[in-house]
Amino acid sequence: MTLTALPEATRTPAAEAVVRPRRVRLPFSAWHLLLAPLAALFALPLLWLLVTSVMSDAEINRFPPALWPSDLDLGGYRYVLGNAMFPRWLLNSLIVSGVAVVSNLVFGALGGYAFARMRFGGSRVLLVLMLATMAVPFQLTMIPTFLVMKQLGLIDTLGALIVPSLVTPFAVFLLRQFFLSLPRELEEAAWMDGCSRLRVLWSVVLPLARPALATVAVLTFLTTWNDLSWPLIAINHDTQYTLQLGLTTFQGQHHTRWSAVMAGNVITVLPVLLAFLAAQKTFIRSLTTSGLKG
């Protein structure tokens, strides 16, 4: 981080006089003296993760350990991608998170639209029940959900991971709230023209609901990709592991191959990190608005 000071020109007495009534004057760089080291402290662990993933095990296992690699060693990545099952786990994670995102968008939009705009018997009771389930902690449902999945014969398959995350009450409720905020007139015009409800939803409502759909997609992806508890319960066989479950098991088994563990860790973190950096505004808006308005 660079410490920056205001250009000298703006510090002339004249500028001072203009600025003074608006804000208390502090040396401009003072906050950077606090923020820069703090930001570095926050960034350091992730930087260290990246650095050790390209270090050789010999360098890591030395005492005291090296803090910077003498040269680039991709042995960790080679091991993780060749000998271990990381490619398979990456695929599993992509499948589970991908299906969860798409199905939450589809079923969340359908359910949310019905609750927002359509009249049907029992809708109020259902909505209240659905809202109530948002407050139920996962620990309360995990044992029976395990038993249900066992009955369905899904334990130890990706199905056990996919079915419970097909649609969340959060997706339904968030989209319902958003649909309620849209003006009815647009839909009514299409409705008068003889469009079916599905058609109205698809071609009138959803294009307007992009921000809400993005929020649902982002939060669904983040929670399913990062989840460890449920895969830990539902999956035993290593061909069905997700990245999170695979990574922690791999760490347990390869305690001394730190470079490989860190390479696997990079593979686990990178998809979320890239998604975040690519759509940072959407991520932050999703996390702040969904909480502030709930």
Binding site: F63, G108, L140, I143, P144, L247, I284
Partner: protein
């Protein structure tokens, strides 16, 4: 069918039977469409949430190993919990963790947000750096920090060594492990508080701060009498949110310490998981889960009240 003449004084849709019928039919198909729209959501959410909640309750009155048929034991599971020293320890650890993490993350998040709300350079970059650990999974955090804090090969002890400080046990030291876990979660969780506060600070009405400034209020007074009260509803939300997260901590514990050393990091959810899926005493685990759920429910109810109050107060100002 011969149609009767319609009296002009009545609205036509009440008397015209054909119109009434099409209306009714339309409503019926509408209802069917609506049910088709909601049924996937209803099926998954009720089937995997409402049913399990009741099932869990029944399970907590039984002795079950998830394989052989279970047996009714009444309140025995709850009675055993009340006397189980391991459960007491789990509750204590969870409370210590929560009471440290929640206030620290919120105060640090608020402080960072207040600083970042100033007109300084690189605010976007700082915000990104503070927030980015939040998207890293607890598993990845755990694996990373087990390495950084490894007593033998870790970078932390290497740095301490260079500074002349003796090597620390960190996650392997029963007197440190829980605090190390708090520190790790602060690293990843403070950023959320910061961005939520930053978003809320955008909504603090400009006229309010301007007016206070014109009245000669100092920065300190401005903060205390204008900004902080305006942030009260968000603070209540964050307390609730962070507390729920803290009381449910599991992934990080599983990856780093597995509840050890010497049970010093066994938290409630770890206890539940251990009982249900390691010791195969699912009924006992379900009872512990109900105790936790009850605590969460009481928390949420209390904060809902506090939030309503904070909102009306903020609105009154």
């Amino acid at each position: 069918m011969p149609r009767l003449p319609t009296p002009l004084t009545l609205p036509p849709d009440r008397t015209d039977p054909r119109r009434k019928r099409t209306l009714r039919r339309r409503r019926r198909t509408e209802s069917a469409t609506a049910w088709a729209f909601v049924s996937p959501a209803v099926l998954v959410i009720l089937g995997l949430s409402v049913v399990p909640v009741i099932w869990s309750l029944l399970l907590s009155f039984r002795a079950s190993d998830l394989v052989t048929p279970s047996r009714w034991v009444g309140l025995d599971n709850y009675r055993a919990l009340a006397q189980d020293p391991h459960f007491h320890e789990a509750v204590r650890n969870t409370l210590v963790y929560t009471l440290l993490y929640v206030p620290l993350s919120i105060v640090a998040g608020l402080a960072l947000a207040l600083v970042l709300n100033r007109r300084i350079r690189f605010v976007g970059l700082y915000r990104t750096l503070f927030f980015v650990p939040f998207v890293v999974s607890a598993t990845a955090q755990g694996v990373l920090f087990s390495f950084v804090l490894d007593p033998q090969f870790g970078a932390a002890n290497s740095v301490l060594h260079r500074l002349g400080v003796s090597a620390q046990g960190f996650l392997t030291d029963p007197s440190q492990a829980l605090y190390v876990l708090v520190a790790i979660t602060l690293w990843s969780g403070t950023g959320l508080c910061t961005v939520v506060y930053l978003a809320a600070l955008q909504d603090v009405p400009q006229e309010l701060t301007e007016a206070a400034r014109l009245d000669g209020a100092r920065r300190r007074h401005l903060l205390r009498h204008v900004t902080l009260p305006a942030l009260a509803p968000v603070s209540v939300f964050l307390v609730l949110w962070q507390t729920i997260q803290a009381l449910q901590v599991f992934d990080l514990v599983y990856v780093t310490t597995k509840g050890g050393p010497l049970g010093s990091t066994t938290v409630i959810v770890y206890f539940i998981w251990e009982q249900a899926f390691k010791n195969f005493t699912a009924g006992y685990g379900a009872a512990a889960a109900y105790v936790l759920a009850l605590a969460l429910f009481v928390m949420a109810a209390l904060l809902r009240i506090a939030r309503g109050r904070a909102r009306t107060e903020a609105a009154a100002r």
